[in-house]
């Protein structure tokens, strides 16, 4: 029998950070937090969990990316601004902080546009610090394919970041027209 109280108390703060980092929004993060543990419940029903932090990081990242993609679709219909504008980064200089906040927001947007598996692998490796082996286990690919996915993710993200907002908007419109 899984001791959920213990697991939520022990790993909750980490799940919260993973979700909030990507979503930058209180109620979205809270929703993602709960969904993460509900997903974990379904996984734990089927198999014993060997590595709770890695599993929870994967699920939290997946749920947060889903919400990001959903927000991006909604943004076609109306402007949704994250709480707190752009100044969400720890930096001493206010100008620097604003710039960093904007960059972080651009990366969130770019992640929402990326292939689901690539964005997942990117977040787990570059934001959550999981090893290739841990990611391979969580995502179900070989360690070497983790490298391939990461390489592709980085190339696409870089392109999107360089294109900044105009490209992101074009892509949204294109997709929006099918929905």
């Amino acid at each position: 029998m899984t001791d959920w109280s213990q697991i939520v108390r022990e790993h909750g703060p980490m799940v919260w950070r993973t979700a909030y980092r990507l979503l930058n929004h209180d109620s979205d993060a809270a929703d993602c937090f709960q969904r993460t543990f509900v997903s974990a419940l379904a996984v734990a029903d089927k198999e014993p969990i060997r590595n709770w932090p890695a599993l929870l990081k994967r699920l939290a990242t997946a749920r947060a990316l889903e919400r990001l993609r959903q927000r991006r679709r909604e943004a076609n219909r109306r402007d949704v601004l994250p709480e707190g504008g752009g100044a969400d980064v720890r930096a001493a200089d206010p100008v620097q902080a604003a710039e960093a906040g904007e960059l972080a927001e651009h990366l969130r947007e770019a992640l929402a546009e990326l292939d689901a598996r690539q964005s997942q692998v990117f977040c787990l490796s570059c934001l959550e610090g999981l090893s290739y082996q841990q990611i391979a286990e969580q995502v179900g690919v070989t360690v070497n394919h983790v490298g391939v996915l990461l390489s592709r993710a980085r190339a696409s993200l870089r392109e999107r970041l360089l294109a900044h907002r105009p490209a992101a908007q074009n892509a949204s419109e294109r997709k929006g027209s099918h929905e």
């Binding site: 939520v8 889903e66 972080a104 082996q133 286990e137 360690v143 490298g147 390489s151 190339a155 970041l161």
Partner: protein, 566 residues
């Protein structure tokens, strides 16, 4: 100039990643959020929405296919490790390092087993900065740009940083025989905390004669990875690394197709449409367009080739962590054009599309859909078929017969195929039946309790017969039959209990039938997939059966999927 651009590009992503990593995050979760989450978990009552989606995952299991498997790059690691170790190692090891550095190309196989997960296998070819990887479901080419040093973020960086400690990391384990070759064995351990395998050790076998690695093995209590079948400096076919458009396609090459008559088209996995002559000669492959900005995945099982062979009516499946969702729109791709533009010809955003079929003249598309009934259980839905005029995009519903199901409720038959003039349709209701265009059953072609796959039903070019696949619930086996549309005893082409995943198509002259199928293995639920998949040919009367292609596959790898014979 390019160098400067590269630096700028790298900076953007690194800066953005650092900014996101260091983003200010308010303390959390709140005590209320923690408490309510714990309460929900202890009561084991996930939110209804989530229950629905998890159940749905089971229904769509067939197309989830376990998210593709894997490919590989070891050379970077090897080069890094050797570079790191060469000073401290014995002469033979140092020589091997030199040989690896000098090698122009290498290919090898990666086998990975983690915990209870199925074993994954992939193959890699490396020449210069080009890497081709082949996984059960995916083939691709990537280009490692040496100028962008950290491009791959592979462990090479970490290895390099450990140079000074190198002498403590390698141990010679003596000689061993591997596949008849004498090999020196080395153990390398504790390379880096942040290495792929959390600082554990791996073993390396090097051919004593040629002085190059033949095998590398890593294992801990949960994971085992083996790199083997190394072939060094083999002249690799240039086409393996052909790249016309790296930037837009991640290295996949979009090539316009020449349409050659009487070829058999088939697919395996998510990226390529293969074709071959009926004698097995002149195999070709063409990459199928992908949506670059999307999490949608090409649904190879549903693709249909137009009668003239020019257009692929295709769709993308949504894959999320909740599972795979059937397509809701059909796109038409002109294979003969160098550009990969696809155009949407049908969409039903509120539904899921099951299959689509071209009319004989290629002007119409019959699209069959399923739609969830609002407020009902997850699996409750209704089905229907629309016929779309591909020129005007006008669509109208096909009239389908109804019948009384086993539960006494009235059900609508499912569309399977239409005659050339559109006046006769084949439907699956109480078995396979013919019906008039206004939805009246004319004749039953099979017994009423036979489970026929509507999407497998294909009418012969002369319009007199149909081939169809059936499904046995008990063992998941499929059978293949040919039956005259005028009625009569169906002729069995594939017997029960031996194969599954059967997909047929008539030859253009109507004399033969090609089909793909997969060995049945009852020990391998849920689909009882065996370890081999085939492309076979047989005369329409059951004579002259032959196997055109055989492919060994892993349990969760997709089968060969026949698309058409045109």
């Amino acid at each position: 100039m390019n160098d400067r651009m590269d630096r700028r590009e790298r900076d953007v992503l690194d800066q953005a990643t650092a900014a996101l990593r260091d983003a200010r995050i308010p303390d959390g979760p709140s005590p209320q959020l923690t408490a309510s989450t714990v309460e929900a978990l202890q009561a084991s009552t996930p939110a209804p929405d989530v229950i629905r989606r998890i159940q749905r995952r089971k229904r769509m299991f067939r197309i989830a296919r376990f998210g593709a498997a894997a490919a590989a790059v070891m050379l970077a690691v090897l080069a890094g490790a050797f570079w790191l170790l060469d000073r401290s190692a014995s002469m033979s090891f140092a020589k091997m390092v030199e040989n690896v550095k000098k090698a122009k190309s290498v290919s090898f196989v990666v086998k990975q087993k983690i915990g209870d997960q199925p074993e994954l296998e992939s193959k890699m070819f490396i020449r210069g900065n080009f890497i081709r990887y082949e996984t059960p479901s995916e083939t691709g080419i990537i280009h490692l740009d040496q100028k962008k040093g950290r491009e791959l973020n592979w462990p090479i960086d970490q290895l390099r940083n450990l140079k000074e400690d190198a002498k403590d990391h390698m141990k010679s384990l003596g000689d061993e025989d591997v596949g008849g070759r004498k090999c020196h064995v080395y153990q390398i351990k504790g390379l880096a905390k942040s290495l792929w395998f959390g600082g554990n050790q791996f073993k390396l076998w090097a051919d004593a004669k040629i002085g190059l690695p033949v095998k590398i093995h890593f294992a801990d209590d949960h994971t085992s990875v083996t790199w083997e079948d190394f072939i060094w400096d083999e002249p690799l076919n240039g086409d393996l690394f052909s790249l016309d458009d790296l930037k837009d396609r991640n290295g996949e090459r979009p090539t316009p197709a020449r349409v050659i008559p009487t070829r058999i088209y088939y697919q395996q996995g998510w990226t390529e449409l293969h074709s071959v002559q009926a004698d097995g000669e002149t195999p070709e492959a063409q990459f199928v367009p992908r949506l670059p900005d999307s999490a949608e995945t090409y649904d190879s099982a549903k693709a249909e080739l137009s009668p003239d062979g020019c257009y692929l009516a295709m769709a993308y499946t949504h894959i999320t962590d909740h599972g795979a969702f059937a397509p809701y729109r059909v796109l038409l791709w002109d294979r003969t054009q160098p550009k990969e533009a696809v155009i949407e010809v049908y969409a039903r955003p509120e539904g899921e599309l099951q299959s689509w079929r071209f009319s004989d003249d290629g002007k119409l598309l019959y699209v069959s859909w399923w739609q969830h009934l609002a407020g009902k259980e997850q699996a409750d839905g209704r089905t229907g078929t629309d016929v779309v005029d591909l020129k005007t995009r006008a669509k109208q519903a096909v009239k389908l017969p109804t019948y009384k199901g086993a539960d006494g409720k009235e059900q609508q038959a499912q569309f399977a195929a239409a005659s050339a003039d559109g006046q006769t349709i084949l439907v699956v209701g109480q078995g396979l039946q013919t019906a008039t265009a206004d939805g009246k059953v004319v004749r039953s072609l099979t017994a009423p309790d036979v489970n026929v796959f509507p999407s497998s039903v294909r009418v012969s070019p002369d319009g007199k017969e149909a081939v169809y696949a059936t499904f046995h619930r008990e063992d998941k086996s499929h059978q293949l039959f040919v039956v005259s549309l005028a009625g009569g005893e169906p002729k069995e082409l594939v017997p029960a209990g031996k194969f599954t995943d059967v997909r047929p198509s008539w030859s253009p002259d109507g004399k033969r039938i090609a089909y793909t199928c997969r060995l049945l293995d009852p020990k391998n639920p849920p689909f009882n997939y065996g370890a081999e998949t085939y492309l076979k040919l047989v005369d329409a009367n059951g004579a002259n059966a032959s196997v055109l292609l055989t492919k060994k596959v892993q349990p969760k790898e997709t089968s060969l999927e026949l698309t058409a014979w045109r």
